[in-house]
């Protein structure tokens, strides 16, 4: 698994790790989707959304990106499983999200927090960070 859900007294703490930054961003979205636990109808409408962001550093870019995906998830009632990154640097990105309308969500996420988030490379040259989701 590219991510593990760890213990947190009140919220959900996730450890995400990936071979590249692009994968780390995509895996973090998948972790968020797992927490949201959507129920998808058999024939769901496909929905797309565009996200364009600039941030002061790569950790801020990830947290801002996840919060924007969460916003689109809630506004469009859609689970975005496909992330196409058209441009990607440490401080900016442009992405197209596509996914399916959900019937319901099993769990709410209020926000993606900055607490403990810090993208680093470990000894195996993997990118990793912890993310705490406010439930």
């Amino acid at each position: 698994m590219p991510y593990e859900i760890l213990e947190h007294t009140a919220d959900v703490r996730v450890h995400v790790h990936a071979a590249s930054l692009v994968e780390l961003f995509s895996d973090a979205v998948q972790a968020m989707n797992e927490i949201l636990d959507p129920t998808l109808p058999e024939q769901a409408k496909v929905v797309t959304a565009e996200i364009s962001l600039e941030a002061p550093d790569v950790t801020a870019l990830l947290i801002d990106f996840l919060n924007d995906v969460l916003l689109q998830t809630q506004l469009q009632r859609t689970t975005f499983r496909d992330i196409a990154l058209h441009t990607f640097t440490d401080t900016s990105l442009r992405a197209t999200l596509s996914g399916q309308r959900f019937a319901s969500l099993g769990r709410d996420i209020k926000a993606v927090t900055w607490h403990e988030a810090e993208i680093r490379r470990n000894r195996n040259r993997e990118w990793k960070t912890v993310i705490v989701f406010d439930i």
Binding site: T9, G106, A111, V112, I135
Partner: protein
Amino acid sequence: MVPKSALRELSPFVREIPRSYRSDMRVPARVYATPSMIERILQDRSLEQLVNVATLPGIVKYALAMPDVHEGYGFPVGGVAAFDEEEGIISPGGIGYDINCGVRLLCSSMQKEALSGRLGDIGRAIYAEVPSGVGKGGMLSLKGRQLDTVLEGGAKKMLELGYGLEADIRRIESGGCLDAAEASLVSDHAKARGHDQLGTMGAGNHFVEVEYVSAIYDEAEAARMGLFRHQVCVMIHTGSRGLGHQVATDSIRLMNRSLARFGFSLPDRELACAPFRSPEGQDYWKAMSAAANFAWANRQLITWEIREAWKRLFGRDEGLELLYDVAHNIAKIETHTVGGTPKKLVVHRKGATRAFPGQPVLIPGSMGTGSYVLSGREEALKESFGSSCHGAGRTMSRTRARKETDAGELLRELQEKGIVVQAGSKEGLTEEAPSAYKDVDEVVGVVSQSGIAKKVARLKPLAVIKG
């Protein structure tokens, strides 16, 4: 993690981490707890987070943790901190994403015996009337100026729209409206996320609970508040829904980009803040006030929905009077005495309840264990910036609670206690299992024995309604 050796005992219920513990602390950090509670508190990151709060610019006296404290993000949940209005900061992370999450208690004139055999009907009627669950919309879908007037008018606007009684407004903290609110400072995204969520409960730990007064500890105070033995009451716990969450997200993003300009170096980016008097600080204060008003309007509309259900069940003469409504995730401008001088402070309460002398303090326990009504005391003004705990406080993670709790067994246990449960999600129910929370009696015991607030009445649940 903060080691136990760092704690100094100030009294049987108060321990302090001195300023010398970490070089960046501006004030000491204090925690209200019994020795056995301290052992549990030391097992997560609550106190480390409290020490981080003690480093924030303009903090006065001390950073405080109430006995229900547990790890959060940025501030610990159960945290209180006050900042000088002129020289201090305001921090969205010190209020949380659910701005003005809070509790409201409604009281009927009936005794619990009158509900005999009807609890199932009551649970179903309230569940049908109050929309619940993740992202659920409600009976009103507000647009443009309509939503703005609610953001600026709070519960008072709901009264104008016909969803309340004059008497309600007097029994809400701050009259259910913060005048600083400016709807134009709430983003379109935040408005889009919340525009149809007024009058809805949401998910997670939010609930409506029908309860009865099982014990009275202070007859005079209970009589003053209109409480009597076996009286049926209804408790509401919810906040500002998606609108408040997005206001916090927007502000934390903005403030994180301005930290260098303010010259702030923070131990945790979730503590992002701005000087209260800066344009960024003022913009957040006004947007937070608007989200707080949305939460009061939300609890007011839910009150109306419950009253409608009540009337259908018991007839037009059976009313539900508002006892009080308190916020437990909010910043307020209050005057407190610091070093013998009254000072205007920006008091942050994150998972903490205002407890001014004589004010009803509402403390919900875990699902199935019931709640307390307390009355704030003078000591709270002297010691805790007029603040108390806000609940039992979690002690077990949601993931572990889901793993360790069997939904069927939990439902049976509640049924054996005579409690009716009407819940949309079985998984959601297991996350809120009583075993995932501290003992509310012990938490309230600390608040009461340390003199912050006195116990007035204990309530026990009859029906739990959740998303």
